[in-house]
Amino acid sequence: MSSALLIIAAFTLLALGLGLRARRGHDMNLEQWSVGGRSFGTAFVFLLMAGEIYTTFTFLGGSGFAYGKGAPVYYILPYATLAYILSYWLLPPIWRYAKANRVVSQPNFLASKYASPGLGVLVAIVDVVALVPYLVLQFKGLGIIVATTSYGAISPAAAIWIGALVVTAYVTISGVRGSAWNSVTKDLMILGVVLFLGIYLPLHYYGGYAPMFHAIDAAKPGFLSFPEKGSSVTWFQSTVALTALGFFMWPHTFASVFTARDERIFRRNAAVLPVYQLILLFVFFVGFAATLKVPGLKGGDIDLSLFRLSLATFDPWFVGVIGAAGVLTALVPGSMILNAAATLIANDIYRGGIARQASDAQVTRLARVLVPVIALVGVGFTLHGGETIVALLLMGYSFVTQLFPAVLASLAARRWVTWQGAFAGIVAGVAVVTITTLTHATLGQWFPFLPERLKDTNIGLVALSVNVLVLLIVSALTQSRTAAQSQAHSL
């Protein structure tokens, strides 16, 4: 057994131990299991929310994106920043309502706000469909990391099975508390590793950032700024705007709002999280450093760039430390996704749509039983999913973004949007996302008469516009009926 493998194994065991230990002293009822009894302070809410950003996608995908595509990777940096600004005003009212009405999930929130269990079931289904590919992404990353850093001793399939077992064990037993404790370890590890790599690699190979970027600019002209076409400036603007709106709509991110002890936590975090976001910059630097040093990775393999460069640079034990950090970036978000998906199916699809009378205890029991089932589905897709999963992944973010108009409208003081409007808007938005993703449509194909600049606009904006339009029209129609009815009653 190599030293790299030993270190990875040690950290996996540590994650399992911390996850299981988190249960101690708490009676795991539904509110404890899913939202930690609404007792988390600034630090833990911060870590749960920040934990969303530092997943395997950013660790492997962020560096791979910089390595393979160049400038377009910059979009990852600002979108969450803008989302944090929105969160200052958006999250406190959501939190207040959730606390007063004992809401534990996002569909639960919308169903309660619009007094429509049907809407809750719809939102839960959209959420689960969006979450499963996200879980698969974490498992895939896990497989790549362990296989690479164990120098081939462990196959990706074996790594995925072990990872799934660890996560299932602690989520079943400790719920969200297990994730919170592991977030602490994970963030410390990733902070240390990414800062070190992002500073050391450019210095070691190029003698600093400026020489590195000069070298890249000379070797690949145009690589470091947005191109005229494709991933252009227009693409950047529309994608940043769209993903900023979708950011807090992920059900597990939305649910982490409920774990807070008081609402001021969100307002304070809005100032701190953008700074934390800057760690991503160092992930970019790693990818850029790799682009001239380990060239030739193509297609999906660009995600390996960080590890290829690390293998070429460091001793096995340090590759093990990087691998352990990578494993944690897969396990922690993976556990939160599992937790969220299980709560959604048990609380919002089962209790919301099938068995209205189910007690909290029954729902909690079902949620726990579902954790291994969902993990198995995730592993199945990871091992046999093939290309379909890529399409699903692209859809996930656009799917949850479709919930934004309904959430925003529900916060208005005098609510004009009806549940029918919210329902129809979400259905229409999701339908447009599905069609555009499956047909790989671009705005330029649909509207060839548009000026060249606008053709690169993210097509997700079309889905969101259709969504809002349908929401307004259907609300207007159902509005008049309810108004007419109440008038008839008063007569």
């Binding site: 988190a22 302070g41 833990f44 940096l77 919170a180 307002r267 809005a270 100032a271 700074v275």
Partner: protein
Amino acid sequence: MVLRLLAALPFIGILLGVPFVNRVEPLVLGMPLVLAWIVAWVVLTAVIMALVYRLDPANRTAASPGEEVRP
């Protein structure tokens, strides 16, 4: 209202500003100009939101007692 105007600045800087700085040279702090511009706005956002937090009367009432509950 002033607070919201303040908070709108990063949106303007990031979304509307980038077309004007989409260049590599000159490097700023070793980074391509467009990347440095985005980074500057992320840092400014933190400063602006800290200021908003300070100025917002909603945060001025006495903090609720009780210490961090450990999960």
